[in-house]
């Protein structure tokens, strides 16, 4: 398993404001598997990604990546794991405003202290895979929402991640473009053997996923069969 969460509990806020964001969550995602997580707003979906992506430490429970327990790593090691093993696709693409599309990808290699030559080749291949070759020199401000999101996916794949975490990657897009983005994610997950966890609240995309889970009040369960 590339990603494994064991009996995760996460309490956020303090004092009277405490919220149980994750309640006894268990989840395993295999390499090449695309798991979709559905759920209403505030149910804890982003919290799940934050814990899986080493941005938040769970209150209790264990997080494992590639079979290694990473729950208790310090901030520096977590940053290193994120740089090396994890790809993020954010809700609003979240690109660096001053960098061109190609530089967004090269940045990832730069953060890892890697070799620029190989990185340039990989970046060009990824941009081709997401159909952005002709946009490689453009800055985020010069791109459409769909193009930005595709750039975000290419960036997330740049470090050849074992895990890809996508938080509502289609929420800023119209249906057709949203679907294209999700299909791209699924294709890349399968081709590159990436364990992909995608949060969405758009039920029309679910057929693309290998497995669909549902989050309710911090509890994760297989999706209940839909009546009619």
């Amino acid at each position: 398993m590339s990603l494994q969460l064991d009996t995760i509990n996460l309490t956020l806020g303090d004092g009277d404001q405490q919220v149980v964001a994750l309640d006894n969550v268990n989840l395993a995602v295999a390499p090449g598997e695309l798991v979709a997580v559905l759920g209403p707003s505030g149910s804890g979906k982003s919290s799940l990604l934050a814990v899986a992506g080493l941005l938040l430490r769970p209150s209790t429970g264990r997080v494992s990546i590639d079979g290694t327990d990473v729950t208790d790593l310090g901030d520096r090691e977590r940053a290193q794991r994120r740089a090396d093993r994890i790809g993020f696709v954010f809700q609003a693409a979240n690109l660096v405003p001053s960098l061109s599309v190609r530089e967004q990808l090269l940045l990832i290699e730069h953060l890892r202290g890697g070799r620029p030559r190989l990185a340039e080749q990989r970046a060009d291949r990824l941009l081709e895979a997401v159909g952005l070759t002709s946009r490689a020199g453009h800055r985020p401000g010069q791109l459409s929402g769909g193009e930005r999101q595709r750039a975000g996916i290419a960036r997330a794949l740049m470090n050849e991640p074992g895990i890809l975490l996508a938080d509502e990657p289609t929420s800023a897009l119209d249906r057709a473009r949203g679907r294209a983005v999700v299909e791209l994610l699924a294709q890349q997950a399968h081709e590159r053997e990436v364990a992909t966890l995608m949060v969405t609240h758009d039920t029309s995309m679910l057929d693309v996923a290998d497995r669909v889970l549902e989050m309710r009040d911090g509890q994760l369960a297989p999706r209940a069969p839909v009546a009619a």
Partner: protein
């Protein structure tokens, strides 16, 4: 500095604005150091250029040019103090005078001054007036001026050697006669020496006895201070004890010139304020810039950038802007300084100018460093959850 350089290009308008402010401060620094150096030159260049290591004043007066009197016993005794290569008396007083090209006219002026205290007839009173510092030195001693034109000082003569400044600004030339106001001494100009100033007026070098006559009305074996040429073996405190002197290094003696401390003090204070203001300006700029970049920094950290990486990037960016802007400002300042009118108290020397530039860059870097804590505190979680993650 992968991002820093691209940010500089991307947000060039904003950086240009900050750079312009830093450049202007640098320019102001050049003008201020020029003024400080110029004023100091104007005030004490004659002392600064003395080929002496130490100056000895009387113990009673301390380091005060206008109050000290030293005796022949004292300067002769100093010559045999261990470590002292040579010691020579220097008399120093401020005078006013008039310059005459025509000797008959100078004689007439002298008679009038002796009778009435000033030149009274139309032709004598209209001669060019000069303020001057009369330096009395023993002809042939190591403090005697080196003439660039005319002849050197000679014992037993009233001939004087004047600062080049008098030649350039007042048209004084060898052969002219200087008549001192009030005392009515007639001093023929026999030579010109390089620019020497004291107390913001040009220096006229005279034989010590002439200075004594001008100052006391008679030749008494005294001077204002003793110029000492000594090596490391010289212990001023011991000589001071034995001879009732106050001996200081040549540069420390500058403070004894009237107004020197106050002038330099004021300028140093203005410069100090400017450095602090520059530091605070840069701090304010980078604080706002960091706040604007909060989301981007959160993203970088989420993507695996360590805080140290982001900080290095930010400080490197500040360094580029500061060095570039300071260099530009120094360049403009030097250009402007070169265009200064010649009679303004203004002089540019490489060390103070480069020192000011370096200090400005350091202050700017300190200013930019205030954003380090802010950068460190940004939580990568905001990349996922947006701005409200800061609530944690």
């Amino acid at each position: 500095m992968f991002i820093a350089l691209r940010d500089l290009r991307f947000a060039r308008g904003r950086f240009a604005l900050m750079g312009a402010v830093v450049a202007l401060v640098a320019l102001l620094m050049v003008l201020l150091t020029g003024l400080a150096t110029g004023l100091a030159d104007d005030n004490v260049s004659a002392i600064a250029d003395l080929p002496a290591t130490h100056l000895a004043f009387s113990a009673e007066s301390g380091v005060k040019f206008n109050q000290s009197t030293v005796t022949a016993d004292q300067w002769q005794a100093l010559r045999s103090v261990p470590g002292v290569a040579d010691a020579a008396p220097v008399g120093n007083s401020l005078f006013n005078g008039h310059v005459y090209a025509d000797h008959a006219q100078a004689d007439k002026a002298r008679t009038e001054v002796l009778a009435n205290g000033k030149a009274t007839s139309a032709d004598t009173a209209g001669a060019p007036a000069v303020d001057l510092a009369l330096f009395g030195v023993e002809p042939g001693s190591f403090v005697a001026p080196v003439q660039t034109a005319g002849e050197r000082l000679a014992a037993g003569s009233d001939g004087v050697v004047v600062s080049d400044d008098l030649a350039r600004k007042k048209g004084v030339k060898v052969g002219d006669v200087l008549v001192l106001d009030r005392v009515g001494l007639e001093l023929p100009v026999v030579g010109i020496t390089r620019k020497a100033n004291f107390g913001h007026v040009p220096v006229v070098f005279a034989p010590l006895q002439v200075w004594q006559k001008a100052t006391f009305g008679s030749t008494r074996a005294v001077a204002t201070f003793v110029a000492v040429r000594a090596d490391d073996a010289f212990v001023p405190a011991t000589a001071d004890q034995a001879q009732r002197l106050t001996t200081v290094t040549r540069t420390a003696a500058f403070d004894g010139s009237p107004g020197y401390k106050e002038e330099t003090g004021t300028l140093v204070m203005i410069e100090g304020f400017l450095y602090v203001i520059a530091g605070m300006l840069v701090a304010a700029f980078f604080t706002v810039w960091t706040i604007q970049r909060t989301a981007e920094i959160g993203l970088l950290k989420a993507l695996g950038a360590r805080t140290g990486y982001v900080v290095r990037d930010a400080i490197g960016q500040a360094a580029i802007v500061l060095v570039g802007a300071t260099a530009l400002g120094l360049g403009l300042g030097l250009g402007l300084g070169a265009a200064m009118p010649g009679n303004a108290p203004f002089a540019l020397k490489p060390v103070p100018v480069l020192g000011a530039g370096a200090l400005l860059v350091v202050m700017g870097l300190l200013g930019s460093a205030v954003s380090i804590r802010r950068i460190a505190k940004i939580d990568p979680l905001i990349a996922l959850t947006g701005g409200n993650a800061g609530a944690r």
